[in-house]
Symmetry: C2
Subunit: 249 residues, 2 copies
């Protein structure tokens, strides 16, 4: 893991890093917080690790809870090169949306989402390994998945199912539910907070509710707010969820 | 309004009152909090104004937020006499539950719930009038409906629809949804927090989701937690909801 830049604003240190092909960023309190809980955040489809909504939530997590927050670009997103597959999937998705073809949107999203998750899960795991080798983070740190909409959930669910280091997770609707995602959800037993935009034009409400149903977690809470595909609103959502379930330094 | 007793515990003053046939209780901070927001709480079917869950939430609202909290017994509940109709409805409900006859449970609940709400809404309004004549509460106080499960929602929804003084409301699932309730929900425009026990054995999930859908409020949040008919869990629910929407003294 190689840090390429460090800036500070509003009490938050932001350090960009690369790890092989992975491009990522780490936020932490300027005042320092060794071994503070580490929260992983995932961006939405077509967005990147410093997309404004993610940046705002990362700053909030650092300044309010003293967490360390990490985000990485998904394959083909942000600072990472796009493959021919990435370009093709984006073109297909754009076309399907222009055609108003909901089924094609869903079909491309599922196909591309599965491929992205297959690449992203081991990348997150390698990133976790590297972060835990940093002295200020370390092997004993408590880790949560801090959510993200659409793709951030499409990657976060298989990651949380595969990764025993994640002790609690926030997911959002907005990702087309497919069988693999349901199977992964059934393997998740840690506390889950699930945010649902009530009026998603791309993802059926019933399939999102079915995904919430599938989590094997004894503690899981669904929060639904009015809003469409890209507008998960964090209003009214319990902000203490991760703090309750992650062990302080 | 006549106060019949006053006790203090854990920093909370509890005053029982009667208003005509209505029996009620008022909780407020021992330190005083003139003109603090007033929160109305409703108990569940078969329960009463000081049922343990309600008492715990009332104490929390007083000690954490400095609210004044009022609860009254529903007709035929708590310290109030039962009519022949009350006795009959309870007997019918018990029988239907023993028979495991879900449809009969729903049908009796709806019939009795409508009758109780018709009596309880004007009682709440008279109670509000009387409370606002108290110098420590007054005509300008900000008022919220602080929720309650089952019957507390069956009464709270028509009350909030009818009562312009209520500025925000918390409702819970667990009450069989009927057309009158849906119609009342459509007339509600204030911010709503809606708690849903995900595994209610008496109330279909889809009908509860339909009720959430019906609120005309621009701001409404659904919180669903695993749990059955009598176990609305307040875990993970945004505790700041009423404080955000009620105007401090």
């Amino acid at each position: 893991m190689r840090f390429t830049s460090a800036t500070t604003s509003d009490g938050v240190v932001e350090r960009d890093f690369t790890l092989g092909e992975i491009t990522g960023v780490l936020w932490s309190p300027e005042a320092g917080s060794p071994h503070a809980p580490l929260v992983l955040m995932g961006h939405g489809g077509g967005q990147h690790k410093k997309t404004p909504a993610l940046l705002a939530r990362a700053h909030h997590a650092v300044t309010t809870h003293g967490f360390t927050v990490a985000a990485i670009d998904a394959p083909g997103h942000g600072d990472r090169p796009r493959t021919a597959e990435d370009d093709q999937a984006r073109a297909d998705l754009r076309q399907a949306m222009m055609d108003g073809d909901t089924e094609a949107v869903a079909s491309v999203s599922v196909r591309y989402g599965i491929s992205l998750a297959e690449r992203a899960v081991p990348e997150w795991q390698a990133t976790l390994d590297a972060l835990q080798r940093l002295p200020e983070i370390g092997p004993e740190v408590s880790i949560g998945y801090g959510g993200g909409i659409t793709l951030g959930t499409g990657i976060g669910i298989p990651l949380t199912a595969a990764e025993p280091r994640i002790a609690a997770a926030i997911f959002g609707g907005g990702f087309v539910v497919h069988d693999g995602l349901l199977e992964a959800a059934k393997r998740i037993t840690v506390p889950v907070q699930f945010l649902l935009p009530w009026d998603d034009q791309h993802v059926g409400r019933q399939s999102a509710l079915g995904l919430f149903d599938a989590f094997a977690s004894a503690e899981k809470t669904l929060h639904a707010n009015p809003g469409d595909h890209r507008t998960i609103r964090w209003t009214g959502v319990d902000d203490g969820f991760l703090a309750r379930h992650l062990t302080p330094a």
